[in-house]
């Protein structure tokens, strides 16, 4: 149990390199089933357009899950995340083709707290849009 990243080896301002996560319609269907969120805007193009959206959009929680994966892969232990919050600032539009959309997540060490905890500021982009804002995780380091 515990992060593999050592608190003493981390500096404020240190960047965590971006990782790209692909999202296709299949992922949204799987996420709907696994999460129980069957809102039609996440799988039904006809319904999405009817309520004024450009196309089917990803569940916000799917995007948040990718940001979470970015943090836990960096920290080395999912149990080391003690606080995780985001604002969904823009939609991830997922076209019905073989490419889907890309969510690009990067991070920076924003603050070193007491008890070997750090604040990671997260950036998530899809195309030109910043899809998360105020995205931050507090991680318990070794």
């Amino acid at each position: 149990m515990g992060a593999t990243v050592k608190y003493d080896e981390v500096e404020v301002g240190q960047e965590i390199p971006a990782v790209d996560y692909n999202v296709r319609r299949l992922n949204l269907v799987m996420y709907a089933g696994a999460s129980g969120d069957f809102n039609q805007i996440h799988w039904n193009e006809r319904f999405a357009r009817m309520v004024g959206l450009p196309d089917v959009i990803a569940h916000g929680m799917y995007t948040m899950a990718q940001a979470g994966r970015f943090v836990t892969d960096w920290a080395g232990d999912p149990g080391a995340v003690v606080d995780f919050g985001v604002r969904f600032s823009s939609m991830v539009v997922v076209p019905d083709d073989d490419q889907g959309a890309t969510i690009s997540v990067s991070g920076v060490v924003e603050e070193k707290l007491e008890d070997k905890r750090v604040v990671i500021g997260l950036t998530a982009r899809s195309g030109d849009a910043k899809v998360l804002s105020k995205a931050r995780a507090v991680v318990q380091l070794a």
Binding site: M1, G2, Y21, N27, M30, Y31, G33, A34, S35, G36, D37, N39, I41, V51, G52, I57, H59, G60, M61, Y62, M64, A65, Q66, G68, R69, V71, T72, D73, D77, P78, G79, V81, V82, D83, F84, G85, V86, R87, F88, M91, K134
Partner: protein
């Protein structure tokens, strides 16, 4: 239509216990594309110091609206569900969720506000084991697009 501010501060009865299963965690991890073995392999999770497989950080979304969900469909609230998107989400973790946990959720509507043309509503969910051990607190803010018209 503006949301009914009388709902702020309302608390909802605790949910029936949600039983966290290894199969559900595996399904959720597969859906988010995360192959971390501590979500899938009991031995790997135990080698990492956990009693059983643990759940990904965003897993509480699966069951955290079991308490309070009825508020969102209460006609007195005035929420048009077709116009709802997710605005903000936050998790404060006391410990990871383990397979085998029996989790009870208690919900409170903590805030309703207007932002531009939208209406925002925040539900706080306190998640604890059936024995009362705190596990996680979640804050879920939904946006009703155009709700403030």
């Amino acid at each position: 239509m503006a949301l009914n501010r009388d709902f702020v501060g309302r608390t909802y009865p605790p949910s029936a216990p949600y039983e966290v299963s290894r199969v559900k965690i595996r399904e959720f991890a597969a859906a988010i594309g995360d192959s971390n073995p501590v979500y899938r392999d009991k031995e790997a999770a135990q080698a990492a110091g956990y009693p059983d497989v643990i759940a990904p950080p965003t897993f509480p979304i699966v069951f955290s609206l079991q308490s309070g969900g009825e508020a969102l469909v209460d006609p007195d609230l005035g929420l048009n569900l077709a116009m709802v998107v997710h605005g903000e989400q936050r998790f404060e973790y006391v410990r990871p969720i383990y397979a085998g946990d029996q989790l009870v959720t208690s919900a409170t509507i903590t805030d309703i506000r207007t932002a531009g043309r939208n209406e925002l509503l925040t539900v706080r969910s306190d998640i604890a084991t059936a024995e009362g051990e705190p596990v996680c607190v979640t804050y879920n803010t939904i946006v009703e697009r155009g709700g403030a018209g």
